[in-house]
């Protein structure tokens, strides 16, 4: 059984890793050709991301967009999740549903909706519209982690604080916030990483004025191959792995993904 399991894990692991191994391989090619196994060794393509103005600008654009839109997503999700937890208001679940919808529907739909919206209101192409678009598109992630976080708070803690003289505000500051902090951080991390990688919404809203890294790669793909694309892919993979690794290190990843606490 364990041998069979191990074999199955290895096969799935190979399937998942193979394309990435090849990409990592071509990213260290010495010459600008698509070849694997790599011919020669060079990290210059990684250097390109930071030294070449076009790639660097794209990286900065991506990081700025991801950092600010994840923050916006958090600012939308936190009061909503808090309200749903604090009050009895079944009708307000409609907003929870709205918050989950963009991420559940095919992304083209949200992208197209936002495109028609920005075009109609006349803001099409402005950089800040991408922040709002991504903020809405990824609000699902902090919303889900925060809802989980709130439901994990033992209500008697809040009641205990109240009996000791804490009003709503004080309870939020001294009890609720410290307890949901891990969920807040992971919600931000999820939204950040996904925004960094997002293509279609960014492309449809600001694709002609701002070049994020995924857009840059796609454009580069159409004009031919450069190993920098591979280097960026590896870089993004590493960023994601580091971020999720940190979430796992300082939080309870299985629990965040829906497993019940203190199991195994």
């Amino acid at each position: 059984m364990t041998a069979l399991r191990r074999l199955f894990f290895v096969v799935v692991g190979l399937f998942l890793a193979l394309p990435l191994i090849v990409v990592a391989g071509v990213s260290i090619n010495a010459r600008q050709t698509l070849a694997f196994p790599p011919q020669g060794f060079s990290l210059s393509w990684y250097g390109q991301i930071f030294t070449n103005a076009e790639w660097r600008n794209a990286l900065i654009a991506s990081l700025t967009l991801a950092a600010s839109s994840a923050l916006l997503a958090l600012l939308i999700a936190l009061p909503l999740a808090w309200f749903l937890w604090r009050r009895i208001a079944p009708w307000a679940n409609i907003f929870q549903l709205l918050g989950v919808a963009p991420f559940t529907l095919p992304p083209v739909i949200t992208a197209l909706g936002l495109l028609t919206f920005w075009a109609t209101t006349g803001f099409y192409g402005q950089a800040w519209t991408a922040v709002i678009s991504h903020g809405i598109f990824f609000v699902t992630l902090p919303l889900v982690t925060l809802s989980l976080g709130f439901s994990a708070i033992d209500r008697s803690l809040v009641e205990a604080a109240a009996t000791m003289g804490a009003d709503d505000r004080v309870v939020f500051r001294t009890v609720v916030l410290p307890l949901i902090l891990p969920y807040l951080v992971s919600g931000y991390a999820f939204a950040f990483v996904l925004s960094l990688n997002e293509y279609i919404v960014a492309y449809m809203t600001v694709g002609f004025t701002v070049e994020t890294l995924p857009i840059k790669i796609f454009n580069a793909l159409r004009y031919g191959y450069t190993p920098t694309m591979a280097a960026v892919t590896v870089l993004f993979l590493v960023i994601a792995a580091v971020v999720f690794g940190l979430v796992a290190r300082f939080g309870d990843l299985p629990k965040l993904l829906g497993a019940m606490s203190d199991e195994r």
Binding site: F36, I76, V108, T120, I136
Partner: protein, 284 residues
């Protein structure tokens, strides 16, 4: 600190910003898109307000029927492939040590978040003639000469399964972790082999979860907009690709919007149908 319905205006305070943002930037755009789907297209990428069904009428063509049929077929195929591999995989994962679980979860999340552009690029590299997997086959002596494996249906299907697989595992994970381990243990004590116990106890116990997962992955696969374009031939293009194409390159917003509305309706209808079927089966 009683939990009760909001009474004063101040109690609604926290709701203002999220509700406003979601309404203005999700509900209104969605409505705008629906409106635009009835608009009249003008030359040069413009459109004027109107109420015409022309955009929807264009669906009634053989070409469109083929695209729709292919999109649904592809999404179903990907969903089935992912669930068939995903269930035993997630089951085994949920029974592994916590450390192993975490490593896999981090890896799956990283791949899930990887841009579709990058997944497309990675697979086109792996399927390319100069850097691809066929070089390995040649080296192993399985093949005489390296060759490109794209564009092809197999390439599209493989890459989309790759993209949807982490999603499948993460959707299945909570249900499988919570599955009572004594269930299979009981089956084992009654003489079932591990594989048999899995097939006769775990799979039936998860019937509704499996159905729900199939639907989720199906919708996820319907949303793939780049892989068919990067790895397939034009006949492998899906509805999502066509929508992008019409909106961006053909500048036909009304038609793109009509297709998007149609895509939403088709997804919702299929979800409804599947849920209904599930209920019927449960009622029996």
């Amino acid at each position: 600190m009683r939990r009760e319905p909001p009474q004063r205006l101040a109690h609604y305070g926290p709701l203002f910003f999220p509700a406003g943002m979601l309404t203005v930037f999700f509900v209104v755009p969605f409505a705008t898109m629906i409106a635009v789907s009835f608009f009249q297209r003008q030359q040069g990428g413009f459109y004027t307000p109107a109420f015409v069904f022309d955009n929807y009428a264009r669906f009634l063509s053989l070409f469109f029927g083929k695209v729709l049929g292919f999109s649904l077929f592809l999404a179903v195929a990907v969903a089935v492939a992912c669930v068939v591999i995903g269930i035993p995989f997630t089951y085994l994962l949920s029974r592994s040590a916590r450390k192993i679980q975490i490593v896999w979860l981090v890896a799956l999340l990283s791949i899930l978040s990887l841009s579709e552009v990058m997944i497309g690029f990675a697979w086109s590299t792996l399927f390319s003639r100069t850097a691809g997997i066929t070089n390995l086959f040649v080296w192993l002596g399985l093949m005489a000469q390296a060759q490109a494996l794209t564009p092809s249906f197999g390439a599209v299907m493989t890459a989309m399964t790759y993209q949807a697989f982490p999603y499948t595992v993460l959707v299945l994970y909570p249900a499988l972790v919570r599955l009572d381990p004594t269930l299979t243990e009981a089956a084992r004590t009654l003489g079932a082999s591990p594989v048999k116990a899995f097939l006769t106890v775990v799979v039936p116990a998860l019937r509704n979860t499996i159905l729900a997962t199939l639907i989720m992955v199906f919708i996820f696969a319907l949303g793939s907009y780049l892989l068919p374009q990067l790895l397939g031939r034009p006949q492998h293009w899906t509805l999502s690709v066509l929508i992008t194409d019409q909106a961006i390159y053909q500048s036909n917003m009304p038609f793109a919007a009509a297709m998007a509305v149609f895509l939403v309706l088709v997804s919702l209808a299929l979800v409804g149908l599947a849920l209904y079927a599930g209920q019927q089966r449960q009622a029996k």
